[in-house]
């Protein structure tokens, strides 16, 4: 059996890079693929962050509806406890479950927020899990042992995320380490693909989702080498050597796409999707230091002051313990979410502003962020957009989300460190997330060599269901991307709307954050989201 739909996930992929690689002949399969299909921008969540974004793709909903709010989030709306992302945070049904209910099987590989793996009809090997726990956190029980026995070359240590190796990506690996670091990602992607191929032989499913996340990791570190707009007129040999190594990774991804087409391209609908796009970041904004200067935040005396210009965005004191909640009105909890929480009395504890002052204070804070957080050299605003939680997180989980979400002028992540300065230039250009991701679709009934206007992540789930000929739950927020399909196909295949989804149950765990969580968080910084 061949899958009806394959979601071929490229974490952080952007046309900025892919078009250049296609033009250079480095990704010939992708070039052919998009000539035979439809492409367009796939708009991400606010903020454009991996856990929120992939979760929107697999639920057809915004983060306020699906419940995954960041790499770290408060346990609930009244808690001061912070949790790492997990499947327990979903409050909405996933695509895997929706197709199961309509008699189809699903396979999910390397999706974030999928541990412990949901017990679907099919198989789930989650992403963002260290190798020791892969066996326990995958589904069905025994799948990892089965792969070890049956799949030549399978190595769970190569498949799983390696926090120590990833750490090299941001601490500035010596030149000679670049090849091995990139090689590690090439090997990981091959491992994931071999798992897909093996599982489809042994235990086929109608819907497959797989995420290749090295795209994101390479782009964070090597953006200067990958963005063709930044290529020096006279590049030095070292530049060319690093770029060639990075291109090797993309050659591998293209080979995997080619193998996917060889295996399933005649029958399957294949949707190449990214969770967000990418762009350059050249500066750091120390947002908590700005809040301090505005009189909204007071640090605890013992909180470490880092040098102005520090490139580190977070430390172990990123949360309440870094500042004095009794004298703090607003704070950024983590770097990756670019979110600001307003400390409201009675919400999480008895510190903060009175609830009746919330609206006025929030207006004042938005005004300050947009007009007073400025480049000290030019006076230009550093923050280009501020979204309220009603705008970014509307839904049952809104009250657990940041009150404000910032978009910086260069789309970078804020730093939550304590500094004297509020702004610094980066010594080197790095990559950061951008809202414009990619969608390229090809398959039965899909138009050829066409492009469409931007669509958004939540549209993917209903579109997948339509392509599979299944009913689309009436309460999904996204829509079927009809413009992907030919008129003939649309005429022959009516949209079939079904009842509401089945709600997942989010489970909140009270209490504080252990040191071990903090350590993992430190290691996750290496992945670029947290830095």
């Amino acid at each position: 059996m061949k899958p009806q739909v394959i979601i071929f996930g490229l974490d952080g992929a952007t046309f900025t890079v892919l078009d250049d690689l296609v033009a250079r002949g480095i990704m010939p399969n992708l070039g052919k693929f998009q000539c035979e299909g439809v492409r367009g921008h796939l708009m991400s969540t606010t903020p454009p962050l991996t856990p929120l974004a992939w979760s929107s793709l697999v639920t057809g909903r915004t983060p306020g509806q699906h419940g995954v709010l960041g790499f770290m989030q408060y346990a609930n709306a009244n808690s001061t406890s912070v949790q790492l992302v997990s499947s327990r945070q979903f409050t909405a049904e996933t695509l895997w479950s929706i197709v199961n209910r309509q008699g189809k099987r699903a396979g999910s590989l390397n999706f974030v927020a999928h541990q412990p793996a949901p017990k679907i009809d099919g198989w789930v090997v989650p992403g963002w899990v260290s190798w020791r726990w892969m066996k326990r956190l995958s589904h069905p029980a025994g799948i990892i042992e089965q792969l070890k026995q049956e799949l030549p070359g399978f190595d769970v240590k190569k498949l799983a995320i390696d926090f120590e190796e990833e750490r090299k990506s941001v601490v500035g690996a010596p030149m000679d380490d670049y090849r091995s670091w990139i090689g590690l990602h090439i090997e990981r992607e091959r491992q994931w693909f071999e798992v897909l191929r093996h599982m489809m032989r042994k235990d086929p499913a109608e819907l497959i989702g797989i995420v290749f996340d090295g795209v994101d990791k390479l782009q964070h570190l090597l953006w200067y080498y990958l963005d063709p707009r930044l290529t020096p007129e006279q590049p030095e040999s070292e530049y060319l050597r690093i770029r060639d190594m990075a291109w090797d990774y993309f050659r591998t991804v293209d080979e995997l796409l080619g193998e996917t087409l060889d295996l399933y391209g005649d029958k399957s609908t294949i949707l190449i999707c990214s969770d967000h796009g990418f762009t350059a970041t050249r500066e750091v904004v120390y947002i908590n230091s700005f809040l301090e200067k505005m009189g909204y935040l007071n640090w605890k005396p013992e909180t470490e002051m880092v040098d102005d210009g520090s490139q580190e965005l977070e430390s172990g004191v990123y949360r309440h313990v870094g500042f004095d909640p009794s004298r703090t009105k607003a704070y950024a909890l983590t770097a990756s979410s670019n979110g600001i929480f307003i400390n409201v009395k009675g919400r999480r504890d008895e510190t903060g502003i009175p609830p009746q002052e919330y609206d006025a204070f929030r207006r004042e804070l938005i005004e300050a962020l947009l007009t007073k957080c400025v480049d000290p050299e030019t006076g230009e605003p550093l923050i280009s957009r501020v979204s309220t939680r009603e705008e970014a997180f509307w839904g049952p989980n809104m009250h657990n989300a940041p009150d404000l979400t910032l978009e910086l002028r260069d789309f970078g992540f804020v730093s939550v460190r304590r500094t004297n300065a509020i702004h610094a230039k980066r010594p080197t250009i790095l990559g950061t997330h951008h809202p414009e991701g990619i969608l390229i679709g090809r398959g039965p009934g899909i138009r050829s060599d066409a492009s469409i206007d931007p669509v958004w992540l939540a549209d993917i789930a209903p579109t997948v269901l339509y392509a599979m000929g299944l009913q689309i739950p009436a309460d999904l927020q996204g829509r079927v991307i009809e413009e992907l399909f030919t008129e003939e196909h649309l005429a022959r295949h009516d949209l079939s709307m079904g009842g509401a989804t089945e709600a997942a149950v989010a489970v909140a765990v009270p209490a504080g954050v252990p040191d071990e969580d903090t350590e993992i968080i430190e290691k996750m910084k290496a992945l670029g989201y947290l830095e």
Binding site: R136, A506, V507, V509, A511
Partner: protein
């Protein structure tokens, strides 16, 4: 669920996570999971997810780890983990929120 049953499941779960598990090791309630069984601090989060997955319910593992830190514990023993599980496997259903 009896303490012995939970103990059995816990030890099996810990074994699963260690390919190089030394089967000659006798695990007692006083065995430290980090210093004696060789787990690293990074494994704590995976352990938390694995426990919740196995017992199919949420557990206040961060709270448990925070208390251990407050008490300046240098390690967490199998017995302490068992105490934690026995206490919370009975009550965690009440923690679920819609």
């Amino acid at each position: 669920m009896t303490r012995e049953r939970v103990r059995h499941d816990l030890v099996e779960l810990l074994k699963d996570a260690r390919e190089d598990w030394d089967h000659s090791v006798t695990v007692t309630d006083n065995t430290g999971i980090f210093n004696e069984l060789g787990f690293e601090s990074i494994d704590a989060v995976g352990l938390s997810s694995a426990l919740e997955g196995h017992f199919e319910q949420a557990l206040p593992f961060p709270e448990f780890m925070s208390k251990a830190k407050e008490q300046n514990l240098k390690d967490i023993t199998v017995g302490q983990l068992l105490d934690f599980l026995m206490q919370n496997l009975e009550s965690s259903a009440e923690r679920k929120v819609a």
